[in-house]
Amino acid sequence: MADKCLVEPNLEFIKEVVGLGGDTLKKCFQCATCSVVCPIAPDNKPFPRKEMIAASWGLKDKLVGSMDIWLCHNCGDCTTMCPRGAKPGDVLGAIRSYAISEYAVPKFIGKAVNDPKKLPVLLGLPVVIFLVLGFITGLLDFTPGGDKIVHSNFFSSWLVDMIFVPLAAWAVVVFGIGLKRFVNDMHENAVLEGKTDKKKLEIGGLIRGLFSVIPTILKHSKFSECDENKERATAHLMVFYSFIGLFIVTNIFFVVLYVFQIHGPYSQMNPVKWLANVSGIALIIGSALMIKNRMGKTDQVTSYKDWYLLILVLGLGATGMLTEMTRLAGIAGLSYALYFIHLMFVFHLFIFLPFSKLAHLVYRTVAMAYGEYGNR
């Protein structure tokens, strides 16, 4: 007689969410202050009250496929107002982190990314790949000559693209597999819990939803509805736009290289270079602000996965800019070394994108699009 309303708590799930920074989840006594103070929760079945009890009951299936955990922008208003110190903001963050590793295959990579003990292995991975591939192909030259510093003389553009183009494809495939399951789960969960008026999922509608949430995302308007963490919106916006800028720059240079056969380095007077420099500086400032905010918030849990991402982003920007600056200053050895490190960061960014916290850019966007489509 057991049917769909049968609940079977999953103790392992609880333990994992606790380990991912949701150690306060069992403190909740369901007063629903969080749902009341949340500036972005919808009126119908608002979060995060229901997520809190589902988490403390270990109801994994109700949570990992829920769009609501992604509609949350981790403002922290709920955490500040919670009378029991249950920190719903952090708990939802931990559930999101669990959901990312649940949807990204193969799962062991996700586990490794969230495990500080695996960090040396993960750091060594790009070094080994760079050296081995460089050695085999001979595209890595440790004694680049010439009076001008040209990074591609050291680490050939061919070698870069040989590694990073497949990595980009890898990220897309991993996301694709995860999203397929995620979208279906999200729809099923929304129908079951009455969070949507759509019975059947239409991809066309979902895509229309995606278009209509793009202005919201570009303006970060959900983010700025938060009270508690208002300052975070600025930092996030800077990092967000610098990534967009760098994405555009990378693609332009890719086209310039392969279509017009023009090699870098490019002139500082080039407008694309301006965009690259502005984005690079914004990335450093934005991520530094994020780190400062994190350190200032002692009541908010900052777990390993948060630090991993923050340092990755800051490192990405810093090594990139320093590589350029040392090149312009003519310090050849240092510049080449920084470039190598910079490429390690980029490698991490690409390969672990679907497994790290950064994957939120895909899941949250899709969840927001679904919310728009499903009239959440």
């Binding site: 057991a2 309303c5 609940v7 079977e8 103790l11 403190k27």
Partner: protein, 779 residues
């Protein structure tokens, strides 16, 4: 005592600004009584003035007109003197502003048309005070010949043992009576105990053994196991107690009063007195009458009732939807504790491990969200405790608690928080719909849960949070040799717990000298029971140390008066015996009441009940109140062309009188045509006062007393309810006199409802004004 009167009028606090002091002084002067005024009577100089008059002029009966008797009672307290306080402040000047009750201009004075309502009110109150002191005496205590200071503790569980230790520490000899073969009670039958000290986070081993050892170390504590009370005769200070073995029948087993159906013959006609005695003797054959004292009985001064509880068996009750009685793995919390105390938790049906257990706190039928009977915070806490057992026994165990109310008062909240942290314990509010068989195990279905929908949970075992039934539900336990019967008469008002007031007076039962503690009073944890025991032990000591001075214990603590009976005029109607809320009177075979002063709480219910008006107190009697009523001036058409109406308000001094004072402090205004007289309890109101008032031409009379019903607030169990019944009867008498029934009314007010006073008073006044003046006025 030769009374020498003196009237003292304080003109402070605005009294002198509003009233015509000279006019007030005229009242006693007319009677030839000395009068003095002072602008600050409660100040040092004012009190010196009073003391000087007492010392030099021999004044021994003082009428002090000024503030309410509820304040400065310690300042105006003079040994050997009768003092009456006339309330000119709260109930005259503060509640009646001159803007609404204007003074007379020179032309208006004595014009036969205008009158000063406020001045009339103040003068009446002074007259009433003078009339009262004339009729009262200084009380003298009623002393017992011998007093026992020993304390009897009924019940040798955690409460009884703790109470005995506390009383012994204070130097009193204690006897514990325990029906079982050993001490400990239910506290000795548990696996673990709820935390009882900071930080209140984790379960502790039971402490009962240590308590028993502690008690054994006191030489003043005597323990009688395998014993119960056959009867407790007499009164506080001299209870004669007969003990016996459980199940034994003795001649000193307490006789029971006749049930109502045995008081009538086969035609439903009441039996005559002789026949009644015959039937009664037959009914209680082999038992000595209550007035016969056991020569071998032991004497005790006071009793602590710590008889505790038994688990509610839930038998024959409508819990079939929970599978109780049908599915062997659905058990009560008590049964679960028995299983847990023996070892690992296993299922009764097949002895298999119970790794998933659902705890159901509320039966959940329809809209009724109440818990099981006789539950409370302790049953919530026990569910948390037992959920912990499941987790202790099985690392992968799961415990679910479905509740409507999760009560974890005080620092037990810490325990709730720590249990909540356990990843295998799941809590939700919810209506449990059903418990059913599901293959080898059970499945529990609940609706309206915090999870937002109907849910089902698989379980190996289901535990129902059955309540703790106080021992007095099954048996009187105390077996009092009282005419009203061996047990408490009105426990039904208090959900069957041994109590006497819904809000106040912990430990006080409906029998003076019997103090309830622990689960007999309310379902409690061990920690609460230990604290409760201290309270009851202190009450028992207070009782003994009041009785030995001949004063009341409670709630009129220290009151030296007691009801005095003029037996020559007693008609043996037994009303006083039957109506006394505390069973203080035992009538003999003829029906003549035998007073037991130390059982009495001095409420005066007997005085209100007596149709012959032969019962009174030294300072509170039919004549003293009657004279106050008669002192009220009732103006007629001979005095004024349109005379004001006159109203009498008899107000309960515990709730209504303070509410009137508070109304005055808050400057709330009401009619100035009402004269208030405080009474000890509305139960003490004798209808003769109302008849007197009406025959004197007063236009309306109302009683103002405490609330009755679900949240009874009477200090004397149910005095206002008794008054209500009497007022209904008087209504019939009024109709026969061609007077409107509505002229006599009763209203309820709680002490904090002072804001309702103006509406209550003014509505009544306006209603009677519409009826017109009392036709008997002026006769």
């Amino acid at each position: 005592m030769d009374k020498k009167y003196g009237v003292y009028i304080c003109t402070g606090c605005g009294i002198g600004d509003v009233l015509d002091t000279e006019g007030l002084c005229g009242v006693p002067k007319e009677e030839g009584i000395g009068v003095k005024t002072h602008p600050f009577l409660c100040g040092k100089e004012g009190v010196e003035l009073l003391k000087k008059d007492i010392a030099d002029d021999g004044i021994n009966t003082l009428i002090i007109a000024g503030c309410s008797r509820r304040v400065n009672f310690d300042v105006f307290n003079f040994a050997g003197c009768i003092v009456d306080r006339v309330n000119l402040r709260e109930q005259v000047v503060w509640s009646h502003p001159r803007s609404e009750f204007p003074a007379l201009t020179e032309e208006q004075k004595d014009d036969g048309e205008h009158f000063d309502r406020l001045q009339m009110l103040a003068e009446d109150y002074i007259k009433m005070g003078m009339a009262k002191v004339e009729k009262i005496d200084l009380p003298e205590p009623s002393m017992l010949e011998t007093i026992s200071k020993r304390i009897l503790v009924i019940g040798g569980g955690i409460t009884g043992i703790s109470a005995a230790i506390d009383a012994a520490k204070a130097g009193y000899d204690v006897t514990i009576v325990e029906k079982e073969a050993s001490l400990g009670g239910n506290a000795a039958k548990i696996r673990k105990q709820l935390p009882n000290e900071d930080p209140f986070e984790s379960l502790i081993p039971p402490i009962i053994e240590a308590k028993i050892k502690e008690a054994e170390a006191y030489s003043g504590i005597e323990v009688k196991t395998n014993s119960i009370v056959a009867r407790i005769a007499g009164q506080p200070g001299e209870f004669t107690v007969t003990l016996k073995k459980p199940g034994e029948a003795t001649e000193f087993d307490v006789p029971y009063p006749l049930p109502d159906e045995m008081k009538v013959d086969e035609n439903g006609k009441e039996l005559d007195v002789e026949k009644l005695i015959e039937v009664y003797n037959e009914y209680n054959k082999g038992k000595k009458d209550i007035l016969t004292l056991d020569p071998d009985g032991e004497l005790f001064g006071a009793v602590i009732l710590a008889a505790g509880w038994r688990p509610d068996k839930l038998e024959g009750k409508a819990f079939t939807h929970l599978g109780f009685g049908k599915l062997p793995d659905v058990v009560t919390n008590y049964q679960f504790e028995e299983i847990a105390a023996k070892g690992k938790i296993t299922r009764p049906s097949d002895g298999n491990e119970a790794k998933s257990v659902v705890f159901i706190q509320s039966p959940g039928k329809g809209d009724d969200d109440s818990d099981f009977d006789y539950t409370g915070s302790v049953t919530s806490l026990v569910a948390l405790k037992q959920a912990q057992y499941v987790r202790e026994d099985y690392p992968e165990g799961k415990a679910y608690i479905f509740y409507q109310h999760m009560r974890t008062p005080g620092l037990q909240e810490n325990f709730y928080k720590s249990i909540q942290q356990d990843e295998g314990i799941f809590l939700t509010k919810g209506d449990v719909i059903s418990v059913a068989k599901n293959g080898d195990g059970l499945i529990v279905e609940a609706d309206n849960t915090l999870l937002g929908e109907k849910i089902q949970v698989k379980a190996d075992m289901v535990v129902l949070a059955a309540g703790m039934v106080p021992a007095t539900v099954d048996d009187p336990v105390i077996n009092l040799a009282y005419r009203q019967g061996p047990g408490f008469r009105d426990n039904a008002i208090f959900n069957e717990y041994a109590d006497s007031n819904f809000i106040c007076f912990p430990y006080e039962t409906q029998r003076t000298g019997i103090y309830a503690a622990g689960c007999i009073r309310r379902s409690m944890t061990i920690e609460e029971s230990i604290e409760d025991a201290t309270g009851a032990a202190l009450k028992a000591i207070q009782c003994i140390e009041s009785v030995n001075r001949g004063v009341a214990v409670h709630p009129r603590s220290g009151d030296m008066t007691f009801p005095d009976f003029f037996f020559q005029r007693c008609t043996q109607c037994k009303r006083c015996t039957e109506e006394c809320p505390f069973g203080a009177l035992d009538d003999d075979e003829k029906g003549t009441p035998k007073p037991n002063p130390t059982r009495c709480r001095r409420c005066g219910t007997c005085m209100g009940a007596c149709p012959e008006r032969i019962i009174g107190f030294a300072d509170y009697n039919i004549d003293s109140i009657g004279s106050m009523v008669k002192a009220i001036g009732v103006p007629s058409e001979d005095d004024y062309s349109e005379p004001p109406l006159r109203f009498l308000g008899l107000v309960c001094e515990n709730d209504a009188y303070p509410a009137l004072d508070i109304a005055g402090m808050n400057k709330l205004t009401y009619s100035a045509d009402v004269r208030f007289i405080p009474v000890r309890c509305l139960g003490s109101v004798n209808v003769i006062w109302i008849k007197d008032a009406l025959s004197q031409g007063m236009d309306g009379i109302f009683l103002l007393g405490c609330k009755h019903g679900d949240d009874y607030q009477c200090h004397f169990v149910k005095g206002s309810e008794l008054a209500d019944i009497r007022m209904k009867k008087i209504g019939e008498a009024l109709t026969s006199l061609a007077l409107e029934e509505e002229r006599v009314a009763q209203f309820q007010v709680a002490i904090d409802e002072y804001d309702k006073i103006p509406e209550i008073v003014n509505t009544f006044v306006e209603m009677v004004e519409k009826l017109g003046p009392n036709p008997f006025k002026g006769f």
